[in-house]
């Protein structure tokens, strides 16, 4: 994990200290550890001279900028029409059993969080899931189990 000050400074250097640096900063924090803490939101607000409410309001608008604790690997299973028709429910069932958590929950070792998300642009190769930024199309329950096993071994 990188010190959040380092991320903030790096982004400010690239995008300036204006409002438009806000998204890159929040995205940078999420890229590092998958969620943003309250202290970090306050620090970002202070650094960019914005109100804390404004920063919180912006972060919570976007589904990929989580402000609640998430695991090291965030799994997002596409739930929209094509993936639904292709059997995303079985994939979610399989993942819930494999990880012993329900949708929306994080494993006790803080390694995995299981979420659903809207269309990810792989409708011809559903069901699909993202693990952090990595894409896994054309899933079957067996494939999903194998992929999770790889991450558990990491």
């Amino acid at each position: 994990m990188t010190d959040v000050n380092v991320i903030i400074n790096e982004k400010i250097e690239k995008f300036g200290k204006e409002r438009q640096a806000l998204m890159p900063i929040l995205q940078g924090i999420v890229a590092d550890k998958n969620y943003i803490t309250e202290d970090e939101l306050l620090l970002v607000a202070e650094t960019l001279d914005l109100s804390a409410a404004d920063v919180y309001g912006t972060a919570t608008f976007y589904t990929f900028l989580d402000v609640v604790p998430r695991g090291k690997y965030v799994i997002r299973v596409c739930k929209t029409i094509s993936c639904h028709m292709a059997g995303k429910d079985q994939i979610i069932d399989t993942l819930e059993k494999t990880l012993s958590i329900k949708l929306g929950e994080t494993t006790t070792d803080k390694k995995f969080t299981l979420l659903q998300a809207n269309c990810m642009g792989w409708c011809h190769k559903g069901p699909v899931m993202l693990i952090n930024d990595e894409v896994y199309p054309e899933l079957t329950p067996e494939k999903a189990i194998a992929i999770i096993a790889e991450y558990i071994a990491k």
Partner: protein, 388 residues
């Protein structure tokens, strides 16, 4: 006029390593107005779905008297059933950059932003590498233009142009009132030409082959070809570039599984075409316009489940800013659920249709305005499936 048949085209993904250099040199030698005239002449309309003539958009942006102007490439492809822009950015990113450069040159913009959805973060490493080399290349060729990449963070609404500007500016992605239109006051309040990924690649190809050859394809109202994202109940799901102007029937004959009962044209916010209308419905601006999404449903699918899926999507992705969309999406969803459970009389569907029409008139942006498309076309054509 239904003389066009399904014809496959290979323009967008055409493999030509010298395309960028040839086109950039050609454009650099032309006057700005001549480039814009060529685009207007080609009849190219925006390929993101709304279908505004690209050449006119550039003309309006150029006409604005402002030192700062911007080009934005909209790669926030979030419409369910659409995945062509991902493939384009993955396989021919340089053609997108060239299109942005042509746009920048003709309107007088110095900076171009490519706004890409967070779901496509996996493309960023490759895109950034290609872009670094490209930025150097266009400087060497004498273009005063730089392209930067900005990422989204999982919000469908940011594909709406003014919400996308808000997002680049570091704010909540809430659409603005129009007018003023982006060509007058867009990103950072400056004149902005914002185009879809595919539109910009067509701009590149039109400058390569000329407007005249582009115009030979398609119909009066729908010139050229288009990239289609085909999914659902089909043995041939994938990405196909097809000439515009074919009927839904032509399309289904090639892509259906023999049992197609409906095709959703234009994604969740598009129109559902039932089997009885396949033969008469042209895919294009004279019939059903589309951003490229073609979802096929066979007779095993419940259209109630399809509509419910769409409404859940819209209820979640509505930004919540304006009341017609925020409340309307939820009421439509709860309404069809209540009819299905028998708690409401089937005639309640007609009240819901009125609500959808009200949203079309009163919602602030395209999201709320277009929910009536799938709602009315599914309820009208598959009423019994919604009720029973």
């Amino acid at each position: 006029m239904k003389d066009k048949k399904l014809t496959k085209v290979d323009l967008i993904f055409e493999n030509d390593g010298t395309c960028a250099t040839t086109v950039l040199d050609k454009v650099r030698a032309m006057a700005q107005d001549d480039v814009i005239m060529e685009m207007i002449d080609s009849g190219l309309k925006g390929r993101g779905g709304a279908g505004f003539p690209t050449g006119l958009k550039w003309k309006f942006t150029k006409a604005e008297n402002s030192f700062d102007k911007y080009i934005v490439c909209n790669a926030d492809e979030g419409e369910p059933g659409t995945f062509k822009d991902r493939e384009i950015l993955d396989t021919v990113p340089e053609k997108v950059f060239v299109g942005m450069t042509i746009a920048g040159y003709s309107v007088g913009a110095k900076i171009g932003y490519l706004y890409i959805r967070a779901e496509y973060n996996f493309l960023l490493k490759k895109l950034n590498q290609k872009l670094d080399a490209f930025n150097v290349k266009i400087k060497d060729k004498g273009f005063d233009f730089t392209i930067e990449i900005r990422s989204g963070a999982g919000a469908y609404i940011c594909g709406e142009e003014s919400a996308l500007f808000e997002s680049i500016e570091g704010k909540r992605g809430e659409p603005r009132n129009k007018p003023p239109y982006p060509t007058v006051a867009g990103l950072f309040g400056k004149p902005t030409a914002i185009n879809n990924v595919e539109t910009l690649v067509y701009a590149t190809m039109i400058m390569k082959y000329g407007a005249a050859s582009f115009k030979l394809m398609g119909t009066q109202d729908s010139r050229g070809s288009k990239v289609f994202s085909v999914s659902g109940d089909t043995p041939n799901a994938g990405i196909y570039e097809l000439e515009l102007g074919m009927t839904v029937e032509d399309f289904v004959n090639d892509f259906g599984d023999g049992d197609t009962k409906a095709v959703q044209v234009g994604g969740a916010s598009g129109i559902c075409v039932p089997r009885k209308k396949f033969a008469d419905m042209i895919i294009g601006y004279e019939g059903v316009p589309t951003g490229g999404s073609m979802m096929l449903f066979n007779s095993t699918r419940s259209m109630y489940n399809v509509l419910k899926d769409y409404l859940e999507f819209f209820a979640e992705e509505s930004c919540g800013q304006c009341t017609p969309c925020r409340i309307g999406c939820q009421q439509l969803l709860q309404g069809i659920e209540a009819v299905k459970r028998g708690e409401k009389h089937p005639s309640y569907l007609d009240s819901l249709k009125k609500l959808a029409e009200t949203m079309k008139l009163s919602a602030k942006c395209g999201l709320g305005q277009s929910v009536a498309n799938p709602f009315s076309s599914i309820v009208d054509n598959f009423r019994e499936e919604i009720i029973y």
